[in-house]
Amino acid sequence: MTFLQPLILWGLPLMLLPVIIHLINRMRHRPRQWAAMQFLLAATRSSTSHAKLRNLLIMLMRVLAVLTLLLFLARPLVGGWLGWALAAAPDAILLLVDRSASMESRVAGADESRREYALKMLADAAGEFEHASHLVLLDSATRKAHEITTASSLLELPYTQPTDTAADLPAMLQTALDWLIENQAGTAEIWIASDLQASNWQPDDPRWETLITAFDSLPQKVRVRLLATTQESPGNASISVAQLSRQQASGNGEVRLAVDLNRSQANAGTATITRTLNGVATELEARVTGQSTRWRHRFAVGDQAGGWGKLELPADGNPRDNVTYYRYSDNHPPAGLVVTESALGPLWQAAASVAGQVGRTPAKRHTPGNVTPADLRDATLVVWQAPLPEGEMAGTIRRFADEGGRVIFFPPGQPATARFVGLGWGEKQTGGDAGFAVGRWDEDQGPLANTDEGLLLPLTKLGVRQRQQVIGQAAVLAAFDDGQALLVRRVLGRGEVYFCTTLPLLAWSEMGDGLVVVPMLQRLLADGSRRLQRDSVAECGQVGAGDLQLEWTSIETGQRGDVQTQAGVYQSGDRWLVVNRPAAEDEFERVEDGAVAGLFGTLSFQLFQAQRDDTALQGEIWRLFLFLMLLALVVEAWLIRPGSMAEAVPPKPQPPAA
């Protein structure tokens, strides 16, 4: 608790004034020789306890009135969050700090971020307990418990500094739970500082239920207090690279970027974007409409080796989401490999052909029996229309996908028991005269996504007469009206495996016109280029364990960088690593207060909505003390009211007749 007029606190001894007056008054009592002492003693024995209690209450009310008056005049600054400090000290306080990129949003009217604000509040509140409780910091980036000795060090610790990561609140609470169990802490409180971003809290995650049950079953009482930094922020825009591809067209190589721009305001206009390419900055302008815009940008790179760059927005409400990094790789032309014995071989070869200096080069073709690992060395896409590979060949194809290659299987026409990565072919189905209509597909990503110009692939016009069911669990990218899959995907290492349930044969479908199958295979060819690149792309906090073993140097600063928490382009030997903040951090959706309270179920939970303008909170405290003072005076007046003091005085007794 702090005070605007702390000098007035020197007057606190004045609260003893009623006691002193009472003592002086006692000394001034007139002595009276009394004969009928036996009745007086009897009377005081029965009424003194009541009278003493009342006198004590009167004195207490007077002391309280003076005390609250002094505190009122001293203008105490006690906010709801700091007010928690008035509670009894628990054995342990676990400080869960959200260090996600969204916490770097500036607070409107202040030159500090939500994280800095939250840290100050936490430090102030925890400072009251640092001598009585164990303070344990648990940050969202490392999710490791660090015991701290002084609350003020929170502002300086490396574990509280800004990051480009996302936060996983259920995981943080799980870590807190593990710490409590492992350390057998007594009474504990969990203080959470977060901006309630929905992607961080994941309110629909089933882990919540398990967590709360586990907390409930702890022998000690655990209280949760949440400091929600949901203050108003200035306008904000974020930028992220959604897609990057290097194309070789007519001898001029170019890099194509699909950039997502998200803004807190929905007005149309122009956004200024600074593109840095290999250290050279260029200012660009992008037309934006609505809150979310996908801006496509391409620039020529010729035949040069790979490069790196970043796209940057001007300073706004959150500086952390104004930059996104990218890296385009060395020129490794994609190559396709068709594995089939059917007559569709030439069609696959043409659809998976690659444009080069001297026209298009069709994909290589092999039969399943004569494919060797050497054939796969330069390939980026394998089109497989044959019985699923088994044995050694299955291992070879699996490794190919693990390395980042793309594999797409087309139906062999007959059901088989063979499985590849848990997927296999089921029965062939015929759709009759009406055939099967495609009902839905993923238009945003994957091989069936919309074109750069935003045009849909003509899947609605695709007539399908026959299909072969896929058996096994996989993500459905396109499905027919009846719910059966047209295209499914299974991620395997750095690569992906697809199963398409129809063939570009007239007996099967109209896919043979090429309007669907060509862009689909061309995109898979381009995506599979990652297999030949030495670059890694990761989200902050999600860098693979293998990459974490390496020593990375930031290409921007030339210093060793923390790839787990800081976005950037890093290099380690001949390997490159591009780290960007998770896309979900750019979402503005927050969890409602009621929903947050609901997540904690039966746990003792308090939510404090941080307000930038503390004056209102201080005012409430003034009013509280003023109210307390008036209340004390009213109670005191009630206790000393004439009717109360002489309530039992009967009329003057008449001497009874002898």
């Binding site: 009928a36 009377a43 005081t44 002489a646």
Partner: protein, 284 residues
Amino acid sequence: MGQPLLARFPMEGNVSGHHRSPHRGSSVEFAEYRNYVPGDDIRRLDWRVFARTDRYYLKEFEAETNLRCYVVLDCSGSMGFTGEHGSRLDYAKRLAATLGYLVINQGDAAGLLHVTEKTATEIPPRRNASHLQVILDALGQAQPAGGTRLVPMLHELAEKARRRALVVILSDCFCDGDELRDALQHLRYQKHDLALFHLLDPLELDFEFDRPVRFVDMEGSQSIITEPATVRAEYQAHLKRFLNKLRDNCHEFNADYRRVTLDQPYDKVLADFLTERARHATRA
């Protein structure tokens, strides 16, 4: 004050006086006839009745004797209570002196018994006029001090005074009510006529104080600081219970209980007392 002090019950004296005696003897006041029983003095036989009825009857007459009056003055510390109307002991002394004067002046014997916690002064009843001065001197020297020994003194008196007497007690009776009851019963058992002047100051009854007071016990060192307004009701309830009980006890043993507040003129108190007794004696 023309009324004599009369006893309400027969008295035993050694000289003739105004008071009824329990004995039948020779006097002018016929009392009753009764049958002769062996042992009676045959000189007291009424021969005329024998002649008419052939039966032996004795004619009895009321004996009249003198009164022995003991004035018991409580001189405990509480009797020194002084209120707006003066000291309680002074008031008691005036009553005692006046009673002594009345008794001796009507030819009866008056004695004085005053007692403090440590000393006891007893002046036996005498009839001669010079004895009044002795009583007045003793009253003049009486001072309030210490606790009360009124109850043991009354028991002692009951044992010591063999002949019936009038015992007038002047006290505030601030002692154990049950013990006082026993003492009164003891006196009545010895056929003494009892009169109790219960002396109280109006302040003790009303307990009206306008500010906190430190009350100091007049018979000890105990003191208590209290807000009179807060304990007033309780105090008066306790006092009322005590007064009612004392009055009931006195009525039970046919003692003449007279509650006197110090704001009452003592001559009026005595006049009422004497009138009441005279009326009672006439009825008897």
